[in-house]
């Protein structure tokens, strides 16, 4: 999608740009409702789980597209010039030079977005997917102690986040070390 937006082929870049700008500007909750309820009305019936995957998938795909685009644009133009002057094809310039270099600046942003994605999954309970929030909700209906249950849910999200961010931070560090 990021490549599409930067493409010199006009229709491709227009479609990608419009899709990215529209989807990314709508709150993710609205997107989930649109995918689940509105698509259902025009005959595309998705299960809650499928709608959650499509909705969050589309939303995060656009966020990632922008992260990638920033990373690719961030590569110094001299790198491109040097690669072209050596006779590399456009495909090789992208594959061997631009993308590997962009990867280093993309990585921290990409891992951030992944953490956000985990937290945003809590929204899918609104379309009936039995996720952590849903469990907390139904448990509190039984125990009449919503405070404790949601606190517990929060702690579980936090632990997930903590583990994931540690793993990703370790990975980032390894990547940076391998480079010098």
């Amino acid at each position: 999608m990021a490549l599409g937006r930067m493409s010199r082929i006009r229709p491709l870049s227009t479609v990608s740009t419009v899709f990215i700008e529209v989807v990314r500007s709508i709150p993710v909750l609205v997107i989930l409702f649109l995918v689940y309820y509105s698509l259902g009305q025009i005959g595309i019936k998705l299960t809650g789980m499928a709608a959650a995957i499509v909705g969050l998938g589309a939303f995060y795909a656009t966020l990632y597209a922008e992260v990638f685009r920033a990373g690719i644009l961030g590569v110094d133009n001299g790198q491109r010039e040097a690669a072209i002057a050596l006779g590399l094809s456009h495909r090789d310039v992208l594959r061997k030079i631009i993308l590997p270099e962009a990867f280093f600046s993309i990585l921290p942003n990409a891992t951030n977005q992944l953490s956000n994605l985990i937290k945003d999954t809590s929204l899918v309970f609104t379309i009936g997917v039995a996720d952590l929030m849903f469990q907390a909700q139904s448990a509190s209906a039984v125990t009449f102690e919503p405070m404790d249950m949601f606190l517990l849910a929060g702690v579980i999200y936090f632990l997930f986040y903590l583990i994931l961010s540690k793993v990703l931070a370790r990975w980032e560090l390894n990547v940076q070390r391998s480079r010098s």
Partner: protein
């Protein structure tokens, strides 16, 4: 230097939007000739040599390089560009080594990808080139661990690995600390002695006088003066070239004449 013309520039004009960078430039570069382009900053020297290998397009005129013709306002085919880039090497002011690749991988990348050389063959050639500049023991280092002078020498090796017929240098030493300039210039000079055709943009007047056969002074959107290096640098004919040289050679404005280059102009 032979009589064979390998780069023939005719009436080349380059604009960015409405702004004219340079106009109606014509120039011949002969086989094994070393052409130094000098002139005040911002007159499009770098842009001009980038036109020779089509890193920049230009608006009018033609440039013939080794039998390939670039025409102003037209984009050449991929195959033509490929052939052009195979025979013209370029060295940049900012080195532009690929930071994610080791010194060795920087050099073997293009021979392997473009010329489809076997890795071992490419490595042998790369090590030979690195040995020429005394950097063979840095082959597996990443570029950022090298000094600027070392990086630039690697960048020259990288361009030479493609066995170009012509080398373009865009201010190869202007980003270097003064004490690192010598090694790079010495390498370029050695290259010139092997008969390599070279076009270089430089601010090193002494070097230009020493190494170049021809000096081109660019000013005011065009070529102000062009001729044998010594003649142009020691006794420029045009007022524009004279005032430029006076300023470069006597930056603090002492009333010396520009022909003091002949006596060794120790200004740098």
């Amino acid at each position: 230097m032979s009589n064979e013309v390998v780069v023939k520039v005719r009436g080349v004009t380059k604009r960015f939007g409405d702004r004219v960078i340079f106009e109606n430039i014509s120039l011949d570069v002969h086989k094994s000739e070393v052409v130094a382009i000098i002139g005040p900053s911002g007159v499009g020297k770098s842009t001009f040599i980038r036109c020779i290998n089509h890193l920049h397009s230009f608006d009018e005129g033609t440039i013939d390089v080794q039998g390939f013709r670039l025409v102003g306002g037209q984009s050449p085919s991929k195959a033509e560009l490929q052939a052009l880039h195979n025979s013209v090497g370029m060295v940049f002011q900012t080195f532009n080594l690929f930071p994610h690749l080791t010194v060795l991988d920087n050099i073997v990348l293009a021979p392997m990808q473009v010329k489809k050389q076997a890795r071992q063959q490419a490595i042998d050639r790369a090590m030979h080139l690195l040995a020429m500049v005394g950097l063979q023991n840095r082959a597996n280092t990443f570029p950022k661990r090298l000094s600027g002078g070392e990086q630039q020498r690697v960048a020259i090796c990288r361009a030479l690995a493609m066995e170009p017929e012509i080398m373009l240098f865009d201010e190869p030493t202007s980003m270097l600390d003064p004490e690192l300039v010598g090694d790079v210039l010495e390498f370029i000079q050695r290259l010139a002695r092997t008969g390599m055709t070279m076009v270089l943009v430089t601010h090193e007047m002494m070097f230009a006088k020493e190494v170049a056969d021809t000096v081109v002074v660019m000013a005011d959107h065009g070529i102000a003066e062009m001729g044998p290096a010594r003649e142009v640098l020691e006794s420029p004919r045009t007022e524009r070239a004279r005032s430029f040289l006076r300023r470069v050679l006597n930056p603090v404005g002492s009333p010396r004449e520009p022909n003091l280059v002949a006596n060794g102009g120790d200004d740098r």
